[in-house]
Symmetry: C2
DNA sequence: GTAAATACCGATTGACTATCGGTTTTTAGT
DNA sequence: ACTAAAAACCGATAGTCAATCGGTATTTAC
Protein backbone atom coordinates (compact mmCIF):
# COMPACT_ATOMS: atom_id res chain seq x y z
CA UNK A 1 0.00 0.00 0.00
CA UNK A 2 1.39 3.32 -1.03
CA UNK A 3 1.51 5.79 1.77
CA UNK A 4 2.92 8.62 -0.26
CA UNK A 5 1.64 10.93 -2.89
CA UNK A 6 3.35 11.65 -6.13
CA UNK A 7 2.66 15.10 -7.46
CA UNK A 8 3.42 15.84 -11.05
CA UNK A 9 3.76 19.38 -12.17
CA UNK A 10 4.83 20.87 -15.43
CA UNK A 11 6.02 24.42 -15.66
CA UNK A 12 5.93 27.00 -12.95
CA UNK A 13 6.42 30.11 -15.02
CA UNK A 14 4.25 32.84 -16.29
CA UNK A 15 2.67 30.73 -18.97
CA UNK A 16 3.09 27.32 -17.46
CA UNK A 17 2.59 25.75 -20.83
CA UNK A 18 4.24 25.47 -24.18
CA UNK A 19 3.15 27.00 -27.41
CA UNK A 20 2.57 24.95 -30.53
CA UNK A 21 3.41 26.06 -34.03
CA UNK A 22 -0.06 27.19 -34.91
CA UNK A 23 -0.40 29.03 -31.64
CA UNK A 24 2.79 30.96 -32.40
CA UNK A 25 1.56 31.83 -35.85
CA UNK A 26 -1.74 33.07 -34.49
CA UNK A 27 -0.05 35.18 -31.85
CA UNK A 28 2.13 36.80 -34.48
CA UNK A 29 -0.92 37.39 -36.59
CA UNK A 30 -2.56 39.34 -33.78
CA UNK A 31 0.47 41.54 -33.38
CA UNK A 32 -0.14 42.69 -36.91
CA UNK A 33 -3.90 42.68 -36.88
CA UNK A 34 -5.48 44.39 -33.89
CA UNK A 35 -8.81 42.61 -33.89
CA UNK A 36 -10.16 39.60 -35.74
CA UNK A 37 -12.67 36.83 -35.35
CA UNK A 38 -12.17 33.15 -36.05
CA UNK A 39 -13.44 33.47 -39.57
CA UNK A 40 -10.94 36.16 -40.42
CA UNK A 41 -8.07 34.29 -38.87
CA UNK A 42 -9.06 31.20 -40.74
CA UNK A 43 -9.25 33.12 -43.99
CA UNK A 44 -5.76 34.43 -43.37
CA UNK A 45 -4.19 31.04 -42.73
CA UNK A 46 -6.20 28.97 -45.15
CA UNK A 47 -4.01 29.80 -48.08
CA UNK A 48 -0.64 29.40 -46.39
CA UNK A 49 -1.26 26.30 -44.32
CA UNK A 50 -4.78 25.03 -44.66
CA UNK A 51 -6.77 23.70 -41.75
CA UNK A 52 -10.41 23.98 -40.90
CA UNK A 53 -12.24 26.80 -39.21
CA UNK A 54 -12.73 24.53 -36.22
CA UNK A 55 -8.99 24.11 -35.81
CA UNK A 56 -8.59 27.87 -35.73
CA UNK A 57 -11.43 28.22 -33.28
CA UNK A 58 -9.98 25.77 -30.81
CA UNK A 59 -6.56 27.35 -31.13
CA UNK A 60 -8.03 30.76 -30.41
CA UNK A 61 -9.83 29.29 -27.45
CA UNK A 62 -6.65 27.70 -26.14
CA UNK A 63 -4.77 30.98 -26.45
CA UNK A 64 -7.61 32.76 -24.71
CA UNK A 65 -7.55 30.29 -21.83
CA UNK A 66 -3.81 30.80 -21.58
CA UNK A 67 -4.35 34.52 -21.22
CA UNK A 68 -2.52 35.34 -24.42
CA UNK A 69 -5.57 36.55 -26.28
CA UNK A 70 -8.44 38.67 -25.05
CA UNK A 71 -11.90 38.36 -26.52
CA UNK A 72 -15.25 40.07 -26.48
CA UNK A 73 -18.44 38.80 -27.93
CA UNK A 74 -19.79 41.01 -30.62
CA UNK A 75 -23.15 39.94 -31.90
CA UNK A 76 -22.68 36.20 -32.39
CA UNK A 77 -18.94 35.99 -32.84
CA UNK A 78 -15.99 36.50 -30.54
CA UNK A 79 -13.60 39.21 -31.50
CA UNK A 80 -10.10 38.34 -30.43
CA UNK A 81 -7.08 40.54 -29.84
CA UNK A 82 -3.63 40.15 -28.38
CA UNK A 83 -3.69 40.34 -24.59
CA UNK A 84 -0.04 41.33 -24.41
CA UNK A 85 2.00 43.43 -26.73
CA UNK A 86 4.75 41.62 -28.50
CA UNK A 87 7.65 42.98 -26.49
CA UNK A 88 5.92 42.45 -23.19
CA UNK A 89 5.22 38.90 -24.23
CA UNK A 90 8.82 38.30 -25.20
CA UNK A 91 9.92 39.70 -21.89
CA UNK A 92 7.70 37.34 -19.97
CA UNK A 93 8.80 34.50 -22.15
CA UNK A 94 12.44 35.19 -21.39
CA UNK A 95 11.73 35.45 -17.70
CA UNK A 96 9.76 32.26 -17.85
CA UNK A 97 12.35 30.12 -19.52
CA UNK A 98 15.33 31.55 -17.69
CA UNK A 99 14.05 31.75 -14.17
CA UNK A 100 14.71 28.11 -13.53
CA UNK A 101 18.34 28.62 -14.38
CA UNK A 102 19.17 32.06 -13.04
CA UNK A 103 19.99 32.85 -9.47
CA UNK A 104 17.94 35.32 -7.54
CA UNK A 105 20.54 38.04 -7.29
CA UNK A 106 21.44 37.77 -10.93
CA UNK A 107 19.14 39.76 -13.17
CA UNK A 108 17.76 37.92 -16.12
CA UNK A 109 18.81 40.69 -18.40
CA UNK A 110 22.35 40.63 -17.19
CA UNK A 111 22.35 36.89 -17.72
CA UNK A 112 20.98 37.45 -21.17
CA UNK A 113 23.71 39.92 -21.97
CA UNK A 114 26.43 37.61 -20.87
CA UNK A 115 24.83 34.84 -22.83
CA UNK A 116 24.21 36.69 -26.04
CA UNK A 117 27.03 39.16 -26.15
CA UNK A 118 29.03 36.98 -28.48
CA UNK A 119 26.51 37.78 -31.17
CA UNK A 120 26.43 41.50 -30.65
CA UNK A 121 27.77 43.92 -33.18
CA UNK A 122 28.75 47.52 -32.67
CA UNK A 123 25.38 48.82 -33.78
CA UNK A 124 23.57 46.74 -31.22
CA UNK A 125 25.95 47.75 -28.46
CA UNK A 126 25.29 51.37 -29.31
CA UNK A 127 21.58 50.77 -29.33
CA UNK A 128 21.77 49.11 -25.96
CA UNK A 129 23.73 51.97 -24.46
CA UNK A 130 21.23 54.41 -25.83
CA UNK A 131 18.40 52.43 -24.25
CA UNK A 132 20.16 52.38 -20.91
CA UNK A 133 20.64 56.13 -20.99
CA UNK A 134 17.05 56.62 -21.97
CA UNK A 135 15.85 54.37 -19.23
CA UNK A 136 18.03 56.11 -16.65
CA UNK A 137 16.48 59.37 -17.68
CA UNK A 138 13.04 57.96 -17.13
CA UNK A 139 13.92 56.72 -13.66
CA UNK A 140 15.39 60.06 -12.67
CA UNK A 141 12.47 62.11 -13.87
CA UNK A 142 10.12 59.81 -11.98
CA UNK A 143 12.12 60.18 -8.80
CA UNK A 144 12.20 63.94 -8.97
CA UNK A 145 8.50 64.21 -9.69
CA UNK B 1 -8.08 11.37 -52.42
CA UNK B 2 -5.59 13.58 -50.72
CA UNK B 3 -3.04 15.02 -53.04
CA UNK B 4 -1.23 17.03 -50.42
CA UNK B 5 1.12 16.27 -47.60
CA UNK B 6 0.74 17.53 -44.10
CA UNK B 7 4.03 18.00 -42.32
CA UNK B 8 4.05 18.41 -38.58
CA UNK B 9 7.00 20.02 -36.99
CA UNK B 10 7.60 21.17 -33.46
CA UNK B 11 10.33 23.62 -32.67
CA UNK B 12 12.98 24.81 -35.04
CA UNK B 13 15.43 26.25 -32.59
CA UNK B 14 18.67 25.18 -31.09
CA UNK B 15 17.16 22.54 -28.92
CA UNK B 16 14.08 21.74 -30.93
CA UNK B 17 12.52 20.19 -27.87
CA UNK B 18 11.29 21.10 -24.47
CA UNK B 19 12.80 20.33 -21.14
CA UNK B 20 10.88 18.56 -18.41
CA UNK B 21 11.16 19.31 -14.73
CA UNK B 22 13.54 16.51 -13.98
CA UNK B 23 15.69 17.38 -16.94
CA UNK B 24 16.01 20.94 -15.65
CA UNK B 25 16.96 19.71 -12.21
CA UNK B 26 19.58 17.41 -13.62
CA UNK B 27 21.06 20.15 -15.77
CA UNK B 28 21.34 22.41 -12.76
CA UNK B 29 22.94 19.59 -10.84
CA UNK B 30 25.67 19.28 -13.44
CA UNK B 31 26.44 22.97 -13.27
CA UNK B 32 27.37 22.41 -9.66
CA UNK B 33 28.91 18.99 -9.98
CA UNK B 34 31.43 18.68 -12.83
CA UNK B 35 31.21 14.92 -13.33
CA UNK B 36 28.85 12.25 -12.07
CA UNK B 37 27.44 8.91 -13.07
CA UNK B 38 23.83 7.79 -12.92
CA UNK B 39 24.25 6.31 -9.48
CA UNK B 40 25.56 9.54 -8.03
CA UNK B 41 22.84 11.60 -9.65
CA UNK B 42 20.26 9.19 -8.35
CA UNK B 43 21.71 9.35 -4.85
CA UNK B 44 21.51 13.12 -5.00
CA UNK B 45 17.87 13.26 -6.03
CA UNK B 46 16.56 10.28 -4.14
CA UNK B 47 16.10 12.22 -0.94
CA UNK B 48 14.51 15.33 -2.41
CA UNK B 49 12.22 13.81 -4.98
CA UNK B 50 12.51 10.04 -5.10
CA UNK B 51 12.42 8.11 -8.36
CA UNK B 52 14.29 5.04 -9.42
CA UNK B 53 17.78 4.75 -10.80
CA UNK B 54 16.25 3.79 -14.12
CA UNK B 55 14.38 7.06 -14.29
CA UNK B 56 17.60 8.95 -13.76
CA UNK B 57 19.36 6.86 -16.34
CA UNK B 58 16.80 7.51 -19.02
CA UNK B 59 16.77 11.20 -18.19
CA UNK B 60 20.55 11.34 -18.51
CA UNK B 61 20.27 9.51 -21.79
CA UNK B 62 17.65 11.92 -23.05
CA UNK B 63 19.81 14.91 -22.11
CA UNK B 64 22.77 13.27 -23.79
CA UNK B 65 20.83 12.73 -26.98
CA UNK B 66 19.74 16.34 -26.85
CA UNK B 67 23.34 17.41 -26.70
CA UNK B 68 23.01 18.96 -23.27
CA UNK B 69 25.18 16.44 -21.49
CA UNK B 70 28.43 14.84 -22.62
CA UNK B 71 29.43 11.39 -21.49
CA UNK B 72 32.37 9.05 -21.55
CA UNK B 73 32.40 5.44 -20.55
CA UNK B 74 34.68 4.75 -17.66
CA UNK B 75 34.97 1.12 -16.80
CA UNK B 76 31.35 -0.01 -16.92
CA UNK B 77 29.57 3.23 -16.17
CA UNK B 78 29.02 6.41 -18.11
CA UNK B 79 30.38 9.55 -16.58
CA UNK B 80 28.25 12.52 -17.50
CA UNK B 81 29.03 16.21 -17.51
CA UNK B 82 27.39 19.37 -18.73
CA UNK B 83 27.98 19.91 -22.43
CA UNK B 84 27.36 23.63 -22.20
CA UNK B 85 28.15 26.03 -19.45
CA UNK B 86 25.20 27.54 -17.73
CA UNK B 87 25.36 30.97 -19.31
CA UNK B 88 25.92 29.64 -22.78
CA UNK B 89 22.94 27.39 -22.30
CA UNK B 90 20.77 30.27 -21.13
CA UNK B 91 21.87 32.27 -24.13
CA UNK B 92 20.85 29.55 -26.53
CA UNK B 93 17.63 29.08 -24.66
CA UNK B 94 16.74 32.74 -25.00
CA UNK B 95 17.60 32.71 -28.66
CA UNK B 96 15.55 29.60 -29.14
CA UNK B 97 12.37 30.81 -27.54
CA UNK B 98 12.53 34.34 -28.88
CA UNK B 99 13.57 33.76 -32.44
CA UNK B 100 10.05 32.98 -33.53
CA UNK B 101 8.90 36.35 -32.26
CA UNK B 102 11.77 38.69 -33.02
CA UNK B 103 12.42 40.26 -36.36
CA UNK B 104 15.67 39.71 -38.15
CA UNK B 105 17.03 43.19 -37.78
CA UNK B 106 16.11 43.40 -34.14
CA UNK B 107 18.67 41.85 -31.88
CA UNK B 108 17.35 39.47 -29.31
CA UNK B 109 19.24 41.23 -26.59
CA UNK B 110 17.83 44.58 -27.50
CA UNK B 111 14.39 43.05 -27.48
CA UNK B 112 15.15 41.56 -24.12
CA UNK B 113 16.21 44.90 -22.77
CA UNK B 114 13.08 46.60 -23.91
CA UNK B 115 11.06 43.77 -22.49
CA UNK B 116 12.70 43.51 -19.14
CA UNK B 117 13.81 47.05 -18.45
CA UNK B 118 10.84 47.71 -16.23
CA UNK B 119 12.37 45.33 -13.73
CA UNK B 120 15.82 46.84 -13.74
CA UNK B 121 17.28 48.67 -10.82
CA UNK B 122 20.21 51.03 -10.80
CA UNK B 123 22.63 48.30 -9.78
CA UNK B 124 21.69 46.18 -12.73
CA UNK B 125 21.91 49.10 -15.11
CA UNK B 126 25.40 49.79 -13.84
CA UNK B 127 26.32 46.17 -14.22
CA UNK B 128 25.05 46.15 -17.75
CA UNK B 129 27.03 49.24 -18.67
CA UNK B 130 30.10 47.72 -17.18
CA UNK B 131 29.58 44.57 -19.25
CA UNK B 132 29.16 46.61 -22.40
CA UNK B 133 32.38 48.47 -21.77
CA UNK B 134 34.17 45.26 -21.02
CA UNK B 135 32.82 43.65 -24.15
CA UNK B 136 33.80 46.66 -26.26
CA UNK B 137 37.30 46.36 -24.91
CA UNK B 138 37.43 42.74 -25.91
CA UNK B 139 36.31 43.51 -29.45
CA UNK B 140 38.87 46.25 -29.86
CA UNK B 141 41.76 44.20 -28.60
CA UNK B 142 40.76 41.39 -30.94
CA UNK B 143 40.60 43.74 -33.89
CA UNK B 144 44.01 45.23 -33.23
CA UNK B 145 45.59 41.82 -32.72
C1' DG C 1 33.21 -18.02 -14.46
C1' DT C 2 30.12 -15.95 -11.68
C1' DA C 3 27.93 -12.10 -9.30
C1' DA C 4 27.03 -7.44 -9.22
C1' DA C 5 26.61 -3.24 -11.51
C1' DT C 6 25.10 -0.91 -15.41
C1' DA C 7 23.23 -0.24 -19.81
C1' DC C 8 19.57 -1.12 -22.91
C1' DC C 9 14.75 -2.05 -24.37
C1' DG C 10 10.08 -1.49 -24.19
C1' DA C 11 5.75 -0.44 -22.15
C1' DT C 12 2.65 2.72 -19.70
C1' DT C 13 0.84 7.05 -18.15
C1' DG C 14 -0.10 11.85 -18.33
C1' DA C 15 0.11 16.38 -20.52
C1' DC C 16 -0.35 18.99 -24.49
C1' DT C 17 -1.16 20.52 -29.61
C1' DA C 18 -3.53 19.85 -33.85
C1' DT C 19 -7.28 18.35 -36.11
C1' DC C 20 -12.11 18.09 -37.31
C1' DG C 21 -17.04 16.03 -37.19
C1' DG C 22 -21.25 16.66 -35.06
C1' DT C 23 -24.50 19.14 -31.94
C1' DT C 24 -26.19 23.01 -29.56
C1' DT C 25 -26.75 27.80 -29.07
C1' DT C 26 -27.29 32.32 -30.67
C1' DT C 27 -28.70 35.85 -33.63
C1' DA C 28 -30.54 38.25 -37.74
C1' DG C 29 -34.04 38.75 -40.92
C1' DT C 30 -38.71 38.12 -42.31
C1' DA D 1 -42.32 34.05 -33.27
C1' DC D 2 -39.89 31.06 -36.86
C1' DT D 3 -36.35 29.73 -39.37
C1' DA D 4 -31.88 29.49 -41.37
C1' DA D 5 -27.22 30.53 -41.01
C1' DA D 6 -23.37 31.28 -38.29
C1' DA D 7 -20.70 30.44 -34.52
C1' DA D 8 -19.69 28.26 -30.28
C1' DC D 9 -19.22 24.11 -27.90
C1' DC D 10 -18.20 19.20 -27.16
C1' DG D 11 -15.76 15.28 -27.77
C1' DA D 12 -12.90 12.08 -30.18
C1' DT D 13 -8.49 10.89 -32.38
C1' DA D 14 -3.74 11.03 -33.41
C1' DG D 15 0.89 12.56 -32.68
C1' DT D 16 4.79 14.34 -29.57
C1' DC D 17 7.21 14.24 -25.45
C1' DA D 18 8.66 13.62 -20.33
C1' DA D 19 8.54 10.57 -16.52
C1' DT D 20 8.46 6.29 -14.79
C1' DC D 21 10.07 1.65 -14.02
C1' DG D 22 10.26 -3.61 -14.86
C1' DG D 23 12.84 -6.88 -17.21
C1' DT D 24 16.79 -8.40 -19.92
C1' DA D 25 21.23 -8.18 -21.86
C1' DT D 26 26.10 -6.65 -21.16
C1' DT D 27 30.01 -5.71 -19.06
C1' DT D 28 33.43 -5.80 -15.66
C1' DA D 29 35.77 -6.97 -11.41
C1' DC D 30 37.27 -10.47 -8.57
Amino acid sequence: MKDYLIVFSRGAGVFSMNLGELEKLVLKYFWQTPVADAKQVHAHFERSRGGSLNTIQSTLDRLYKKGLLARTKESHAYKYQAAKQRKAFIGELIQDVTQDFTHGSEGNLVAAFVSLSADLNETQLNELERLILEYRGKINSEESA
